[in-house]
Every structure is written in structure tokens, then in C-alpha cells.
Symmetry: C2
């Protein structure tokens, strides 16, 4: 396998290192805007040098962002090259275009590192699907949020302080919006649901609530009630009805999710035969992520295409009811649905996921967290 | 694939059910000593009916026990049939004979359900090995022990009471020795180490301590110090030196192992690139186990042999030092190595795993538990 590697940042450099000693794959060209010189690969600033090189059969996209990653990946597929990427935003956003196109052109498309970093999550979903119906996917999919929530819970830090610490340690970016508002997790649960259920989720129907409005007072409330707050994603499919959402969730002490420390992930599937299976590992980082990119290359060599058949467009129906913890804002609707008060926070009666997220959209200062079923 | 299924107990029946609707595999014959009649398979009491049927290409061994499972599996390999088994005792005990024989005869040998039941642990080790060096394997591998320890910790039950409850729920057998003395876990960590490190462990050099001597007073001691006791296996390989052992281990509250409830397993690998990856699921039960047996059949169809190359015989060197909690017995050596006392129990200075297990062999009433590193 001769590889064109797009991007030479954290992941790209890791891929270069991990493939260096392998005989079955070679990074032939690296596209990178900085001046880098490498002993074993040609470095170019021009993507066309990869695209037009017929000796390159596989493109690894490790640039991140939507553009020009999308244009480069699309052009590569059209030129008959296999794709390996860790870019969850790209795959979740352009799923309807890229996955059918790869199939039409007969190339492999793998993106295992896009969900769970070092965890072989999508490849395990692929394996699980051969044998059973997947009923549920989701869990803790974002290390930045988990690090912040864990620090707030265990060290009693405030949100800003915990975020700063995460940034200092390299667990959060200078602009942390994508992580803390749950967008990263949202991309991951959409992609996971698509693979698990063989569908294409209408992304507009999947609501997301992040953690940026949580306060030390909220965490004190949770601790006093033996609860731990985690950002948890859910994708479910039962009798043709799909639901999917991302929200802070209150987990009882002693549940596996409650004990996930620092920047680790815990991702779960429930299958009709296997029951619950969970995967715990580092969801990010140079070598964990690069590890799964290189695993994908090995699967491309073994002729593995995408993880599941491309399926029909489906709108999520989030009509499940659950109780919510709400702080930071209130109004008549919320007061009507209040069942209890914890200091300044309201605990609602069971309300639908749909209704709660619609309310939150209108009340941008509110922090909401669901009680785990 | 035409299958000869040996045994029609919990796992065998599950395999029959899960394959019933598949087009790529058929259970053609079932060997079973009870009178069973099945719509789609011939039932026989005579193994020779499977062995001599050339249309049967794959034998699933779901009888358990060493004999006649060993003789049947060996004869099947010699007749050129692929083997799928969930029998950890069989594979760990006859590793040096069966694995090279399967290779010599060019047949597939899969035993994913032997470790972790529904968890795809050995197949994940196989995948991880393609890309990196495995440094460590192990964890909570026995649901019976975890159920007993969890009940003692959370409900304050005594050992006998917790065992009875586990038996009533079907989580422990009438004769629980293999589980509670750690033998089942011992087989699993030997097999996991063999696959992970590409070796054949000398089983005589792998010590095991079980949980049958633990008392409610021990658990009270642990709880008072924020610790949870779990039966944990360890296999490590560094610079050619292998260590391997099974022992009750004291884990801090908040560590992922501490939160594993009921009869669940949590099995971990540490890889040079991926870092820590853990797998959480039901380690036993009809459908979780049968699920991985059928997964193995799919891998046989894909031409997958064993998980790793058969490697050289290696003696474990258990020279790591750690502190131990010891109750129920004492003597001059133990008093010499005592650093602290918790009520009637002794906390030792760091002593080697080897020395501690040697002492325990001479003091059969003692309960020992290592402090997690």
C-alpha cells in the first residue's frame, strides 16, 4: 500500500511514526503547509501531487476541519483511491455523499479513529452487526468534557478553572466550543448510529446540550445526591423507531460510567445476543488515534470497505420521557413541570427529550442534565 | 459451513438458536447424551457420526471439561475439521498440543468465547497485535467471583450467604471450586498471555489465589479504607521477562475496576501505541457466549486460523514486589514482613508475588489480597 498522507499535525505525525517500520504500507507523500523534511517521504504543499500520483492507492486524511478536507477526500475517491480518516465532522456531515460515492467507485472507506480514538469502536460495531441486531449505542465519547467534569467532581474546581487546566494539559483546545458544547460527541453518535442501525440520521433531528453552563453549585448538588454528571450520547433503535441525542446525564455512583476518570471514554453497545458490551480507552492523543488509522490501513489491505450498508434517511423521534435537573434559568413551562427543588435548581417531572431540548434552545443560560434511566 | 455441535447445554443450545436463521452456516449434527429432538439437525449420542461425516467441516465443542473434549477435538483436527470452542480449561491445558497440531493440519482454531464470554477479547488481542507490542493483559475475568465480592461489598453479606445467592441466581455452580479458587481466571490469563505475547506459558509458574477465605470482616476493613476487593489477573511482558498471576486485589474507589457490578467482566490490554483499552461485558451466559462462538464460525469462514503464532515455552518470573493484606493466618515470616495492622489483619511491607504465594500455599486458611499498583 502506497499512502498519501494529508496533514502532519498530531495524528499525521503519529501515523508516519507507526508506519515507518512496516513492510505492508509506506507513506509515499505528505501534504503539509509547513516546511517539514522527512527521510522517507516526499513532502509537498500541493494536494494535486497526491491526487495525480497513480502509484498512491490510499489517502489518509488527517487535516481535520470540513474544508478543504471534503474536497480532497471527494476528489481522491473519484480518482479511485481508498480513504482512511479520523475526521468525525467530515464523515458525519457528508455521510450521504461520501459513503455512497465510495461504494460506487469500489474503494474502501474507513474512519475507525473518528470515534473513540484508540478504541476499535466502529470496527467492533462492524463485527457485532454480522451476528445480531444492535439496539443501542452511546456513552462517554469526548475526553475534554470528561476531563472537565471529572476535575469539577473530584477536585471541586469551578468550570472555568477546570477548563483552563484541561487546556494547559492539552486536553482542550484554545477554542473549546466544539468539545464543550457537545458538537464533537454529536458527530460521533450520529456516525455510530448510522453504522449500528444501517441508516442515515437526519442530523437536524438530533438535539445536543453541552456542559459549558455547569457550575460548582450544580456539582455540589449532584454529589450530595450520590450522582456524577457525565456528557452522554444515546442512539437507540427499536421496532423501526430511532431516537438519538447528546446531553449531560446524572449517573449513580457505582455505575461504570461514574468511574471513568480524566480524559478517558467509555462507549457502549447493546446487542440482541451479546447484551451490553462497553469499550474503555483513550479517546484521543497522537498514538491511540494514529493506532486506529493504521489499523484501518490494514483493513483496507484486507479489502474491507465501509462498516455497514448505506441506509435510508431517518428522522430521530425523541419522544422518550425522563426527569431533568435544570439550573440557571426558569420560566412558566419549567415551573409547571417542576417536581422538586435542589437549592436553586429544579428537578422536573418526566418530560420528553424533544420538549426539554426545545426549551433549552430558548433558554441559552440554562444547564440541563437528564437522570439516567 | 456444515457444523458438528458437541454438547447441547447452555452454550450449545444458544449456538443452535443463533445459527438457525443464518444462511452461511448450518448445525448439521448435534452430539448429545440426552434425548433431544431437533427440527433441523440430526441428534446422535456417538461422536464418530460427526467425525466420519466428511460433509462436516467445522466442529463446535460446547461440552466443557477436559475429557472427552480433548480426545474429540484432537481427533477432529486430525480429520481436517476446523475447531471452535469456548472451553478455556481445554485450550489452556492442551495449548502445546492442539495449537501446533491445528497449524500443521491447516485448520482454523478459534476460542474467543473462552475468555470474556460475550466480549470479543481474544479477537481484539489478535487485532491489537497486528499493530503494536502488547505490554499487559488481565483484569476481572470471572463473573462468579465478581458477583460474590460485589454482594459482600454492597450488601454487607458474608461469603457463604453471597455464594448461596449467586448459586440461586445461576451465577455459581453447585460445586463452585473452579470459580472461587481462581482456576477459571487462571486458565483465562494463561490463554490471554499466550496470545498477547506469542508465547506458551509454563502453567506451573503461574500462581493463583482465590476468594473462598474472604470474610465480612475483611470487606469491612477494605470499605473503611476506601478500597474494593476484586479477583484480578495479570500477565505482563517487558524486555523478554514475563510475569503472570491471579490474586484478590484491592482497588481504590473511583478506579474503573472498583465499579464493575454483579457478574460483569472488565478485561484490559495495554499496548505500546493504543495505551490502555478495556472491555466490559457479560463474561458468561447463554447468548453472550454463543454470540462469540458464532462470531468465531464467521471468522473461520473468513479463513482466520489461530490468533497469534505459537511461541516458545516461557516460565513466568513473578519477582515484582507489592504490599499485601493478609488475614486468617500468621507466622514468623509474616510478622517479620508486617508493616501495619488493620484490626486482625496484617498489611505487609512490599514482598514479591512469588514469596507471598509460596507462603499462602503453606497457610491454606489465609486470605491474601494485593494492593493495586
Amino acid at each position: 500500500m502506497r499512502i498519501g498522507l494529508l496533514g502532519f499535525g498530531v495524528v499525521g505525525r503519529g501515523v508516519y511514526d507507526l508506519t515507518a517500520s512496516r513492510e505492508d504500507m509506506t507513506v509515499a507523500k505528505v501534504v503539509c503547509l509547513e516546511d517539514v523534511s522527512l527521510p522517507d517521504a516526499e513532502v509537498t504543499k500541493n494536494f494535486q501531487d497526491v491526487l495525480k500520483d497513480d502509484s498512491i492507492d490510499t489517502v489518509i486524511e488527517a487535516m481535520g476541519g470540513l474544508h478543504p478536507a471534503y474536497e480532497f477526500v471527494k476528489a481522491s475517491i473519484e480518482a479511485g483511491k481508498n480513504i482512511v480518516t479520523s475526521n468525525k465532522a467530515l464523515v458525519a456531515t457528508f455521510y450521504d455523499e461520501l459513503i455512497p460515492l465510495a461504494k460506487e467507485k469500489g474503494v474502501c472507506f474507513r474512519c475507525t479513529a473518528a470515534v473513540g480514538g484508540g478504541i476499535g469502536w466502529l470496527s467492533e460495531l462492524e463485527r457485532a452487526r454480522r451476528m445480531q441486531t444492535i439496539e443501542k449505542v452511546g456513552g462517554i465519547m469526548n475526553g475534554t468534557c470528561n476531563y472537565i467534569l471529572d476535575s469539577m467532581t473530584r477536585l471541586g474546581l469551578g468550570y472555568d478553572e477546570a477548563l483552563k487546566q484541561a487546556q494547559a494539559l492539552g486536553y482542550a483546545e484554545a477554542n473549546p466550543t466544539t468539545d464543550v458544547e457537545g458538537i464533537d460527541t454529536w458527530h460521533k453518535v450520529i456516525l455510530s448510529s448510522n453504522v449500528a442501525f444501517g441508516i442515515s440520521l437526519d442530523t437536524n433531528t438530533v438535539p445536543v446540550a453541552g456542559i459549558s453552563k455547569i457550575t460548582a453549585a450544580d456539582v455540589e448538588n449532584f454529589t450530595a445526591h450520590g450522582l456524577v454528571c457525565k456528557l452522554i450520547s444515546t442512539g437507540k433503535c427499536a421496532e423501526g423507531k430511532v431516537s438519538a441525542y447528546v446531553q449531560p446525564t446524572l449517573v449513580k455512583l457505582g455505575e461504570p460510567e461514574s468511574a471513568v476518570p480524566a480524559n478517558f471514554n467509555l462507549i457502549t453497545l447493546v446487542g440482541s445476543a451479546s447484551g451490553r458490551m462497553s469499550f474503555y480507552g483513550q479517546g484521543a492523543g497522537r498514538y491511540p488515534t494514529a493506532y486506529n488509522v493504521v489499523q484501518d490501513c490494514a483493513d483496507v489491505l484486507a479489502g474491507r470497505g465501509f462498516y455497514s450498508p448505506y441506509g435510508a434517511k431517518v428522522a430521530a423521534e425523541n419522544t422518550d420521557s425522563m426527569r431533568y435537573y435544570v439550573s440557571g434559568a426558569t420560566d412558566a413551562w419549567l415551573e409547571e413541570n417542576a417536581a422538586e427543588r435542589w437549592n436553586n435548581a429544579i428537578i422536573t417531572k418526566p418530560v420528553t427529550v424533544e420538549a426539554m431540548h426545545a426549551w433549552r434552545k430558548e433558554n441559552a443560560d440554562a444547564f440541563i442534565a437528564a437522570f439516567a434511566e
